[in-house]
């Protein structure tokens, strides 16, 4: 287990470093100069040069990258805005806030959105998928399958505005989505996120319905499932004990991918509902050419993906005794 964790973490680290290099290069390919944005009225070349100097943009790219890595690991006190403890991505060009603090500030929104949504879509998706598989061939199955097919063809950028228009703007059943910290206002937290949850979980659940159904049916054809039936175990027992366990593996794989990318910023969802999470932060970082913020979001997002991958692989071992972690 330890060896597995160490090995996978090292692999993830390599990918993160490569990613940060790519993000760095990408930024320098960007047509916009952050100094222009900060320069304000009465901007002169000298002024811009000065801002470049203050931001450290006048140094060579490798040097800047080195400084970035150094600060990330060890923190830095060189920033004009104040000290920056590790993990230090520096201060945002646009808001002058510590990037790490900004990330941590936005994280609860994304976390609430994602985890709340994930709980909903897992229950809904797996539930309907199991029912469809159990009743396969019947009307119930066909209804669920067809429904899931149609819903999974919807996109958040359609279902989201549609739900907003109907549930919020036209009928005023729900509040306009907003994030209220759960510690301050648990009711507001819930009501503010209910529409995004519904939309997110509907779309995702439909995919899980299809997946868990087909995965279950595949498992039901496994020989060991037949053996269990031949032993005289009841259909229900076979279904839930034998088939279900095996069907979890592909589901967990996809769930890991979904969760990772959602935690790294559900960009379209947050954009659609105007929720100030990591995804919105990413869009802002790009539109303001905010290098520290961009790097922060990108690496954070990639870390989430990689972390979820590792957790998924560990979960395999938990589900399937044949898998050994090493």
């Amino acid at each position: 287990m330890l060896r597995f964790l160490v090995r996978r973490s090292l692999g993830a680290l390599v990918i993160l470093i490569l990613l940060s290099i790519v993000a760095f290069l990408l930024f320098f390919g960007m047509p916009r100069d952050p100094a222009l944005l900060m320069c304000g009225k009465g901007c002169t070349p000298a002024n811009i040069a000065n801002i470049h100097h203050v931001l450290g943009l006048d140094k060579s790219i490798p040097e800047q990258y080195w400084i970035f890595l150094h600060n990330l690991v060890l923190g830095s006190n060189d920033f004009a805005q104040g000290p920056c403890p590790a993990p230090c991505f520096g201060y945002s060009y646009h808001t002058n806030e510590q990037v790490w603090a900004t990330l941590m500030d936005r994280l609860p929104t994304t976390l609430s959105l994602t985890l709340g949504g994930a709980v909903c879509f897992l229950i809904l998706g797996l539930g309907t998928g199991l029912i469809a598989a159990w009743k396969r061939g019947t009307l119930v199955d066909k209804t669920f399958t067809a429904g899931a097919m149609v819903i999974s063809s919807m996109q958040i950028y359609f279902l989201g505005p549609l739900a907003l228009a109907i549930l919020v703007y036209q009928t005023h059943i729900f509040d306009k989505p907003a994030y209220n910290p759960i510690s301050n206002d648990p009711v507001g937290w819930f009501t503010g996120l209910i529409v995004p949850w519904v939309v997110l979980s509907t779309i995702f659940a439909s995919q899980y319905t299809r997946m868990s159904r087909s995965s279950m049916i595949e498992q039901l054809q496994e020989e060991h499932v037949r053996t269990a039936r031949a032993k005289g175990m009841s259909s229900r027992y076979v279904f839930f004990r034998y088939a279900w366990r095996g069907s979890l593996i592909p589901i967990i794989t996809i769930f890991g991918i979904d969760l990772g990318s959602l935690l790294g910023g559900a960009i379209i969802t947050e954009y659609t509902f105007g929720l100030p999470g990591l995804g919105r932060l990413a869009v802002d970082a790009v539109s303001f050419s905010d290098l520290p913020l961009l790097l922060g979001v990108m690496l954070f997002s990639a870390t989430m993906i990689l972390l979820c991958n590792i957790v998924v692989d560990a979960a395999y071992a938990f589900i399937d005794p044949r898998v050994r972690l090493a």
Binding site: E223, H224, R226, T227, K231, G232, M233, R245
Partner: protein
Amino acid sequence: MTTVTKEAGAPVPADAGAFLSVRDLHVSFKTEDGVVKAVDGLSFDLERGRTLGIVGESGSGKSVTNLTILGLHNPQFTTVEGEILLEGQELTTARESQLERLRGNKVAMIFQDPLTALSPYYTVGRQIAEPFMKHTGASKKAAWARAVEMLGKVGIPNPKERASDYPHQFSGGMRQRAMIAMALVCDPDLLIADEPTTALDVTVQAQILDLLKDLQQEFGSAIIFITHDLGVIADMADDIMVMYAGGAVERGTTAEVLRSPQHPYTWGLLNSMPRLDSDLSAPLAPIPGTPPSLLNPPSGCRFHPRCTFQDRVDGNRCVTERPLLAPDRASACHLTAEQKHTIFVEEIRPRLG
């Protein structure tokens, strides 16, 4: 007693004494390409304590027949006609809950590939204990003890520890032993072994066969032994039924069928089997052609497209008329008994060496 063989479709009274009696069984599947007649008018009987060997190529309906006995087919796509009587109880129309009570209890099954047939997610002990708990109502602890006992009986060393291992931690032979332990855990009256040794290497094969024989003696179960390997069956079975394209083509005691086979298909099977004592220079003679499509089976005798002897039958009967299988020692072929005997003695036996 040997296999009771009657005219196909003839009613058999429940008190006829046969432990298992299959009557005019038809099994067909609906597929996207059409209806597949997997079993087409099969009848046989089996007594307690006896072993029936079913031989045939792949797709001849051996496995389907036995899965149908246990009701393990998918009712959605499968049509079953005919009767399956187990101690007089009709199984084709039995409710699922009734079948559940039978499965693993009165009738148990051993599958071909113990690796895929055992669940990878649960310990061997648990998988053996499960049916015991279900059928005897034993406690978890008692069932576990029984599982350990069974593992010991099938010759697994250190059964106490090995019971909590997972199947992938077992070797192939041990897995098959575990399968057998699982099948026998409730002392079944009928054991269906579907090619139990095919996936194993030869030395292990022999051990498993010995084990099965020993256990049969101990438990007194009837066994249906499915295989395509005539060598194995000679060792195991009391009676043999040869199947081709969903129907039985020949049956008799092991000695009868192997010593004086009567059906061209059986000859073919024997021909295609190497023997240690045969002349090395004599080539093996495989049956020409491939098994027929069950979607659209050949008319008349199902074997006629591959049969080298159909010119010895008068007229066009092989193509137009389906030969019937007579009761008892019999074969379903239009050749006369005399022809069969002559051909075997003169043309087939020499080649078998």
